[in-house]
Amino acid sequence: MNRNKILYSGAIILAVTLIAALLVALVLYSIGASPLATYKTILTGPLSDLFGVTEVLVRSVPLMLVALGIAISFRSGILNIGAEGQIQMGVIASTAMALAMPHAPKAILLPATMMAGALAGALWGGIAGWLKAKLQVNEILSTVMLNYIAAQVYTFMLRGPMLDPNELETGSGTPQSMRLPEMAFLDTLVPGTRIHMGLILALVAALLVWMLLWKTTLGYRMRTAGAGAKAARYAGIPVERYLIVAMLMAGGFAGLAGAVEVSGVHHRAIEGISSGYGFAGIVVALFGALHPGGIVPSAVFFGILLIGADMTQRSASVPANMVLVLQGVIILSIVSAQSFLRNPYAQERFFRWFGRFSSSARKAGKGAQS
């Protein structure tokens, strides 16, 4: 039985991957790019030198953090689509915190910056959690709306209160904040590259999330609430409270990702800083099976995809929006594959079909022998 199950899962995953790759290839072909060459550039281009590898890791840090938060929320039965806005809120808060204390020592300033980002993200996510728990507002709609609201708040802050005074003096008017004090920077891990301490932070976070979800009562309750709200309520678990907690955590991780981006990579709040990490994080979380052990490699894989897609934009003139197509196709394939994997009837049917196929193949083989 177990062997059958593995065979079945393998067949489904292979089939779905092939279909998804074919669909994307069709789109690539229609815009005049060679699908095979594009795939090759995307998958191997970023890994061709050390700098490429570190850039992949730089991209994977925010993806990892965001996906960890999303995994917590999805496991708890609340679909957080609002990471994009939570990241931006985290960026605003952490930048403001770092700029507010330019002379503080690193031991205080850096943690304070990170905490501010996480807190702002948590509050932004918590709004959706509270709305869901208390007023039964659909969390997908509310988080999507909060994304649009956050985007406007973000541009308002960058163009108004947080605009770098230098931009006004020189008159270039690029909407960006002042540069952070150096004491708020995350240290670089490899000199000459952009890879920073955030990677260690994200890996530790992955371990902590695993411990939280599978080794603590809180995590058990949250997963129970997500797996079956009715049953959880009968068991005395206040489901609504854990919805809020889950959204606070999910938002916190997204906000932390924003803070890490500011203090690890850009060193100031700039426009487009979240660059779709919020949406890509959903795909990373699903691709990593909503488990920290899967999310870490899946974040690296999507780091490759993001860098690779940038490279194809330059070399093969495939527009960067292609990443969204890829993500959309991957999401649709994953949810389709999941329902096949979970469906015992489909598995039964598969083996009935497979059995007929293999027995007829055996008959054919015998026929050839005699």
């Binding site: 229609s30 007023l135 709306m145 929006n321 197509v325 649709l332």
Partner: protein, 316 residues
């Protein structure tokens, strides 16, 4: 400026604003009545907007130019229906989680429209779009004439679709089947209604209407296309279905309320009342959340099996 003239100006702007929301939400209503929660509406609108723009744009200098708009609308309807089928395949046949699948479809539509636009067009280019047709006689009626009877053909179509959708949903056998399938699929199945087929049909119709809504945005409202043209209107449309309590008339009310708020905000800027532009833009999104919070009691009026995949083989 007199108060009457101000109201007149706001309303004249509000009616065209409401059309895209109205079309998409009327379509989404069929999806949800059949029990499928289609969050991909926004992505379908993106593709509809792109094709609605692309077809007349590429036919500009050909003998077909006169039919460009019509063909564009046709293409938008077709791509909407096709994406509806894709969504049906994933959520009805494969019974995948509808919320996540919807986000996937949204990303796909959004990304595909942007990719194709960048490749085939590139920069900002306008199309002639559809001209307003003043209805003879009626457009001369003071006040109402300007508000209701001086728009393009799609606006009239959208307004006429409100009673049409009501009729389809409540007065035809197909409408009864749609509502049955969304409320109690097992009972409907027992009565010989093909649940999956009805859901496919509802998703195709809803998708086509979302595509049309997108084409309206690019052909009539903006007369151009850009990545962020749709700007979450698909999600607002989904919220409007809740707000409108799953009835076409309620949806019309919701769409008008939204567009009045939006045109009021625009008019305030024209009148020179100062407040930050960004806050004006976020107003409709805040309104959606408020509306959803207020509409929570209405949930009991909605289709009871909304969001639940139906599996006739499943034993209880």
């Amino acid at each position: 400026m007199s108060a009457g003239l101000m109201i007149y100006n706001v309303l004249c702007l509000a009616v065209p604003f409401s059309v895209a929301l109205l079309l998409a939400a009327l379509g989404e209503n069929f999806n949800q009545r059949a029990g499928v929660f289609n969050l991909g509406c926004d992505g379908i609108m993106c593709m509809g907007a792109f094709l609605g723009f692309m077809v007349p744009f590429s036919l500009k200098a050909t003998p077909w130019a006169a039919y460009g708009n019509l063909l564009g609308i046709g293409a938008a309807l077709a791509v909407g229906a096709a994406m509806g089928v894709v969504f049906a395949l994933v959520t009805v046949t494969f019974r995948a989680s509808q919320g996540i699948a919807g986000i996937g479809l949204q990303m796909l539509g959004w990304g595909l429209a942007g990719t194709l636009f960048r490749h085939f067009v590139g920069g900002v280019t306008g199309v002639e779009g559809m001209a307003a047709i003043a209805i003879p006689g009626l457009s001369k009626v003071p006040f109402l004439g300007g508000v209701l009877f001086n728009h393009n053909a799609l606006t009239y179509t959208a307004l006429l679709l409100v009673p049409a959708c009501w009729f389809l949903l409540y007065k035809t056998p197909w409408g009864l089947k749609v509502r049955a399938v969304g409320t109690h699929p097992r009972a409907a199945d027992t009565m010989g209604i093909h649940v999956d087929l009805i859901r496919y049909q509802a998703l195709m119709l809803g998708g086509a209407m979302a595509g049309l809504a997108g084409a309206y945005l690019s052909l009539c409202q903006a007369k151009m296309f850009s990545d962020d043209l749709v700007a979450g209107r698909g999600f607002i449309a989904v919220a409007l279905v809740y707000f409108g309590r799953w009835s076409p008339l309620g949806i019309l009310g919701g769409a008008l309320l939204f567009s009045i708020a939006q045109s009021f905000q625009l008019s305030m800027q024209v009148w020179g009342i100062k407040f930050p532009y960004e806050f004006a833009v976020m107003l409709p999104y805040v309104l959606v959340i408020v509306v959803l919070a207020l509409a929570r009691k209405a949930r009991q009026l909605g289709p009871t099996d909304l969001g639940k995949p139906y599996n006739r083989e499943m034993r209880f």
